[in-house]
Amino acid sequence: MSYVQSIPPHDIEAHLAEHDNKSILRFITCGSVDDGKSTLIGRLLYDAKLVFEDQLANLGRVGSPGTANGKEIDLALLLDGLEAEREQGITIDVAYRYFATSKRKFIVADTPGHEEYTRNMVTGASTADLAIILIDSRQGILQQTRRHSYIASLLGIRHVVLAVNKIDLVDYQQQVYEEIVADYMAFAKELGFASIRPIPISARDGDNVISASTNTPWYRGAALLEYLETVELEPTDEARPFRFPVQMVMRPNADFRGYAGQISCGRISVGDPVAVAKTGQRTSVKAIVTFDGELATAEEGEAVTLVLSDEVDASRGNMLVAPGARPFVADQFQAHVIWFDANPMMPGRSYILRTETDSVSATVTTLKHQVNINSFIREAAKSLQMNEVGVCNISTQAPIAFDAYKDNRATGNFIIVDRVTNATVGAGLIDFPLRRADNVHWHALEVNKSARSAMKNQLPAVLWFTGLSGSGKSTIANELDRILHAQGKHTYLLDGDNVRHGLNRDLGFTEEDRVENIRRVAEVAKLMADAGLIVLVSFISPFRDERRMARELMAEGEFIEIFVDTPLDECARRDPKGLYEKALAGKIANFTGVSSPYEAPENPELHIRTVGHEPTDLALAIEEFLDRRMEDK
């Protein structure tokens, strides 16, 4: 759509060169549902004659439920390309449009207004330079205006156009416009935008969209398109230090070893020194290799392959950087997190954290506060719900290399991925590393785990019994404990009920509290394993995520998941504590198997079916497993 122009140039090559060197503005439209975002972009494209004839004709074919017998073209339909969008008359997902005028190229992301689709608004905002925030003149500032302004500012958008839309529906009153602008300016002060440009607009009729409107003589500023063509963008800051996230190591043959990636900022020349971020190793650039020949210099944005002078250890996920200005390398840091998923973010739960090229296990250790998007006030919270923004301390299983997001959007961001569904459940913007991660290293004790366990003549282990209430976990664990003790092994049994009377007596049975319950028990089990003990943990532990988190805390092979598999009706029949009777009567909320799910292990080390077997025989089977494990060592 970008190439419709009235007069074809004579010198096509010169025209193309000019075209290629035009600056590019990436912007988003946002605001509440029905503020007219899609209509505005449709109007912009239509009035600037950037819509093809067959596409216009198609609008007629599609028709629109909202317009009078198809007379008036519904310009929003140029963008709302999904059936669900046409049915509901709303934008669900980002539509990207590309167009150019004689002055500039544009990529516009038309993003959804509905709160449910905040994730798609964030998608558009993460790469934008400018946001057009639409306000319905009749409604004034709404919750979504605040939410989108806050997210735009958080994601590093510097410029805002405040499009006060549907000005025709308030009789083009200057006073209405002025009041909305004053309201917006008052609350946006805190958001730190470099510029905010208000424009009174009617997207439906085209007032002040591509040319000044006679209906608003009191408005003297530029029309929207003119402003978009001329707004000054910050130039690429060449002084920023070199950052090159390693995407992959290319080794086509024994003679060639190159590091492929895209330069995220700064520039690099052959001969320049570089450091490997995570190890601090130093070397220099021997060659910059591309298909089109070797380069002397490469700059921000280029996808190249670097050959280094020395063999260094830098694989995918690491970064090649300027030795004099290195990024942070830490496994604990503070970040702003935007949550997208219907399942809330739980501190203590294990997620996958992905940066541009790195991927590690991570947990939120502390949710410090969430941000109220109406008042921007910090509020205490135990978990983050969908579309909420919070400030978190995050701990990763291995250190990652990063910059603060405010210094570098590319190296300061991450996404959070759910381990089970693989959905992208959150987005993160790193604030700073936590110093204690740098300074407090795990104390390497002289008397270590192997010394302690050797003295006991045993291999430390965490035997994690999981299963429904009444499945027989504690009975079998007790039996095993007795057998091991008789053999002179050093053991300890952690039982759900007992721990809840002491260490975890402050915790209830909400999902957050159950996650925390397991986290604490897993940490205790880890310390006990470190002391050389064989730890028996008997917990329902209904969620795979938490069991996986516990597994990851332990050394390789140390965590032995034992699935005590008893059908629900059999557990209810046994009902040793009379709990099923109460739960089935609705007297206990969140009861596993009745009113709360149980996620059975997929690959447990031991799968024990209890029906028809004696607990002692089952305990002996586990003991045999431990014996074999000891022999294998």
Binding site: Y3, Y98, P235, T236, A410
Partner: protein
């Protein structure tokens, strides 16, 4: 000074192609022989230099492609030395499915969509790179660069993952696959400009020549072989035409043009008043046609 437009698009595409190789175990490029595929092929050669692209190129042949396309495909594979796989839906061939006998919808579904699904399953590909662009069609404008398909190959627009910065979520579950569109942010004009600058070979059908055509349902359909039934009231005439997009020959309209070089094509585009997909019958055979096809696994 930031990178000029085409170099930025090129770098973005190379980054995406490499990301696929770095994170998937068995990727493939869907090579449809058109101009976008030609650009994608060229970018894949660049992305892994000095090595060759570490994945095969798959052509799902409907048996109704222009003959010149097939010749071009085989020549490219020979000259560039890439690993070419050709898959035909044999069930469809046995049932005698074709655009004239079964209509565009059935033909496309059986020979293209089902054919593609068969091929992905046969080879166990977990990621498929393709040359789709967001400016082609309204529902494509909504698609992510990394776009997940269910184990049944279905696309659910409401299940799309948010895609922020250049940080892509490339994880797929059991049986799921990823479609990857490195040219998402390119326009038709960018493609032609890049073909010009990089001197990328393309199928000669893109250039104007005198070709035998029939006017049918407002489109100029080229008579590419004797399988095309000519109605009594129709007349085959030689006209100076070219193609803006290439698919199955009975479903792809030619446009009248005298552009015989890439700069002339670019000049023509500056005055053109219709979109490239106007000449694709399958986009408009029903409302929301492309989205429906994509939900079933079409690209």
């Amino acid at each position: 000074m930031s990178l000029p437009h085409l170099r930025r698009l090129e770098a973005e595409a190379i980054h995406v192609i490499r990301e696929v190789v770095a994170t998937f175990s068995n990727p493939v490029v869907l090579y449809s022989i058109g101009k976008d595929s030609s650009v994608l092929l060229h970018l894949a050669m660049k992305a892994f230099y000095p090595a060759k692209p570490p994945f095969p190129f798959l052509h799902v042949d409907t048996k109704w492609k222009f003959r010149e396309m097939i010749e071009f495909r085989d020549r490219m594979a020979r000259e560039l030395g890439f690993d070419l796989l050709v898959h035909v839906n044999q069930d469809g061939v046995e049932q005698g499915i074709g655009p004239f006998t079964h209509g565009s919808n059935v033909h496309t579904h059986v020979m293209k969509t089902m054919g593609l699904r068969q091929a992905l399953e046969k080879y166990g590909f977990d990621a498929a790179l393709a040359g789709a662009r967001r400016d082609e069609e309204k529902s494509r404008a909504k698609e992510r660069i990394f776009s997940i398909r269910s184990a049944q190959h279905g696309w659910d627009p409401q299940r799309q993952r948010p895609e922020m910065w250049k940080t892509y979520n490339t994880r797929v579950g059991q049986g799921e696959t990823m479609r990857v569109f490195p040219l998402s942010n390119w326009t038709e004009f960018d493609i032609w400009q890049y073909i010009l600058r990089e001197e990328i070979p393309i199928v000669p059908l893109y250039f104007a020549a005198r070709r035998p055509v029939v006017k049918r349902e407002g489109m100029l359909i080229m008579v590419d072989d004797d399988r095309m039934p000519i109605q009594p009231e129709e007349e085959v005439t030689e006209q100076l035409v070219r193609f803006r997009t290439l698919g199955c020959y009975p479903l792809t309209g030619a446009v009248e043009s005298d552009a015989v070089t890439v700069p002339e094509i670019l000049r023509e585009m500056l005055t053109v008043r219709t979109s490239e997909r106007q000449s694709r019958l399958i986009d408009t055979d029903e409302v929301g046609a492309m989205e429906k096809k994509k939900r079933e696994g079409y690209f």
